[in-house]
């Protein structure tokens, strides 16, 4: 694995990724001080995802890794999102169907 990257990723590429990461960090801070409404959250998470993608593909060499390694990333993301989705499916629907009595009111 380490020998592959020797051939594919050169120093200029590494420094470009570093520059992009710094720039994106500055961008996300700037956006936080603007009022884009609900888009603020979208931008915050979206920029974080882009930064993460850069680190994973280039710094962690996933771009040049095996199919198995690439699928590991997707698998772990899938199961994390599964956990979040199902828990939200519970908390967001409490009070629906009105079957099990008065549901507890948690949070705001």
């Amino acid at each position: 694995m380490s020998t592959e990257s020797e051939h594919h990723i050169g120093l200029p590429q590494y420094f470009s990724v570093f520059g992009a990461l710094m720039a994106l960090t500055g961008l996300t801070i700037w956006i936080a001080f603007q009022d884009f409404g609900w888009l603020n959250n979208v931008f915050a998470v979206g920029i974080a995802v882009i930064k993460a993608t850069l680190v994973i593909l280039w710094f962690m060499h996933l771009r040049y890794s095996s199919q198995l390694t690439k699928s590991l990333l997707l698998v772990s993301l899938f199961f994390f999102l599964l956990l979040v989705a199902f828990v939200f499916a519970d908390t967001l629907t409490r009070g629906m169907l009105e079957i099990t009595g008065r549901p507890p009111v948690i949070g705001g």
Binding site: A89, D90, T93, L97
Partner: protein
């Protein structure tokens, strides 16, 4: 006379039976405590794990015995309610975290996965040894929490009791479970990498024995699920120690969130317990019906299917918790799905028996017991997954009976079956057949006597985790259950006696005492340190009994011809 396994500093001069050019077996390859405690041989580590889990199984059984003793009478006359809470908690914690989850992968997976794929060891042998130490550190912490005042939250640690109100050693036990979970992850990691990267030439994925597939699917679950319960336990610990009340309703926390995070692991955890057992079952069925497993590919797909689907159904433990009725309904439907792959396996094992050449050796007795007990356990699982039924029987003995049918009837039966199947290979000794069959029968009878009445008790409304019960009529069934527990106990104690006896007095085992097909049966009993003296190249399917039969028939025919001439 060769020394028995694990004996210290032996005089090596009396090795007349060793051929000087044949390498020693792994038990005799180095003596002394250091050679065992610093070993990196996967087979020795498997035996170390076997020692540990046997001790923990006995401890867990001891607590079970006290529980059953208390429940013989309706009054709470043997122990106080607080003590009873500690008893069922420790029984659960020890059995789940120190026996059911680690055992089959860490003992039989460790020992046989490398051999079955034609490798010399696991991918990371030092990590393997480390995992045994980490496991024992976790276990010591858990056991310490018993002796330093006990733990009374139930093995499920529900908040807010565990985080705010319990005055017992929650943090110590939580840290112990965290550490033991880390050991589980280390084992799962090792097995995953080994199976991916170290298969011998020719050992393609679909030539792997089903036991290897079972460990693979189990490792997937271990890697994805264990970390979630680990962080959840840490959150409870943080609440107790640093007042970081993440589940505390006073700060907007949600105790049901704890249950979601806890069961996200703990439901797949039951598949960690069951999948390796099913892997053993496949091995036993093939060996004792002398036939390839029917529908090999479908058994593989069902193992992977269980691993994935098992992550989608955890809410069925929470139907009455206060989660939304909508979520409960969705989880109920998904739970129906997860029964399908298990059913596929059951049909395939049965079909394997059809027109097989069946012999009723002890491992087969356990495998047959597995079939019946899994049927009951699995179908009652479907019943419990049905939202409408569970609302009635949740937190009753119906649930207790169900999970004991699967955990003991499946996992422990398969463990015993595997132990009796692979004992000659692992130790090089044969055990006496008659006592072993008696104990298999005692286990089956005792088990059913213990747990079947509990289905009835649950349906009649007897709650679980109560030290006393208010209905006199329930006593008869409870007495039957406790009597059954005694028979079960004897059934489990007998192997401890005759298996230990066999280590010193048992007949030496040949390489293939059962006439089974598999790479582990092509090497000596016990195996040498490096498993294979020559590099393995695989050219045939797993369970290639047909080819074996053809070869034997051809040899017999050739002999006949030779005799006639």
């Amino acid at each position: 006379m060769n020394p028995g396994p694990g004996q210290k500093e032996q005089d090596m001069s009396s090795t007349a039976e060793h051929q000087t050019d044949a390498p020693p077996d792994y038990l005799n390859d180095g003596y002394g405590l250091r050679s065992w405690l610093l070993t990196t041989d996967h087979k020795r580590i498997a035996m170390l794990y076997l020692m540990s889990v046997t001790i923990f199984f006995m401890m867990g059984s001891f607590f079970a015995a006290l529980i059953r003793a208390e429940l013989v009478t309706p009054e709470g006359d043997l122990v106080t309610p607080d003590m009873y809470n500690r008893l069922f908690t420790m029984h659960g914690v020890i059995m789940v975290f120190l026996f059911l989850i680690p055992t089959i992968p860490a003992v039989f997976g460790n020992f046989f996965v490398p051999i079955m794929i034609g490798a010399k060891d696991l991918a990371m042998p030092r990590l393997n040894l480390a995992s045994w130490y980490v496991f024992n550190v976790g276990a010591v912490l858990i056991l310490y929490s018993i002796f330093a005042g006990g733990l009374d939250t139930g093995w499920t640690f529900y908040v807010p009791y565990s985080s705010s109100y319990s005055a017992t050693n929650v943090v110590t036990a939580a840290v112990g479970i965290f550490i033991a979970g880390f050991a589980s992850i280390m084992t799962g990691l090792n097995l995953m990498v080994t199976i991916h990267r170290m298969r011998a030439p020719g050992m393609t994925w679909f030539r792997l024995p089903l036991f290897v597939w079972a460990n693979y699917a189990t490792s997937i679950i271990i890697l994805l699920g264990t970390p979630v319960v680990a962080i959840t336990i840490l959150m409870v610990g943080a609440e107790r120690m640093f007042q970081l009340g993440i589940f505390d309703p006073a700060y907007g926390g949600d105790p049901i969130l704890f249950q979601h995070l806890f069961w996200f692991y703990s439901h797949p955890a039951v598949y960690i317990m069951v999948l390796p057992a099913m892997g053993i079952q496949s091995e036993l069925m093939a060996a004792f019906a002398r036939k390839r497993i029917f529908g090999y590919r479908y058994v593989v797909y069902s193992s992977l299917g269980i691993a994935v689907l098992g992550f989608l159904v955890w809410g069925h433990h929470m139907y009455t918790s206060g989660q939304s009725a909508y979520a409960a309904a969705v989880f109920s439907i998904l739970t129906m799905l997860v029964a399908v792959p298990s059913a596929v396996k059951t049909f395939n094992w049965t079909a394997t028996l059809y027109r097989g050449s069946i012999s009723f050796q002890t491992p087969m007795l356990y495998a047959l017991a597995f079939m019946g007990l899994f049927l009951v356990g699995g179908l009652t699982g479907v019943m419990l997954g049905t939202l409408g039924i569970d609302v009635h029987v949740h937190d009753t003995y119906f649930v207790v009976a169900h999970f004991h049918y699967v955990m003991v009837g499946v996992t422990v039966s398969a463990f015993m079956g595997g132990l009796h199947y692979w004992w000659p290979k692992m130790t090089g000794r044969l055990y006496p057949s008659f006592p072993s069959k008696i104990s298999a029968i005692l286990v089956f009878l005792g088990f059913n006597l213990t747990f079947f009445p509990q289905f009835l008790l649950g349906f009649m409304g007897m709650p679980r985790r109560y030290h006393a019960y208010p209905v006199e009529d329930w006593q008869v069934l409870n007495v039957l259950s406790s009597a059954g527990a005694t028979v079960l106990g004897v059934g489990f104690l007998l192997p401890a006696v005759y298996l230990t006896w066999s280590l010193f007095r048992g007949k030496r085992a040949p390489a293939n005492p059962w006439g089974a097909v598999g790479l582990e049966w092509d090497i000596p009993s016990p195996p040498t340190k490096h498993n294979f003296e020559e590099d393995v190249v695989v050219t045939h399917e797993a369970y290639d009994y047909d080819a074996r039969r053809d070869a034997i028939a051809a040899a017999a025919a050739a002999k006949q011809e030779a005799d006639l001439v």
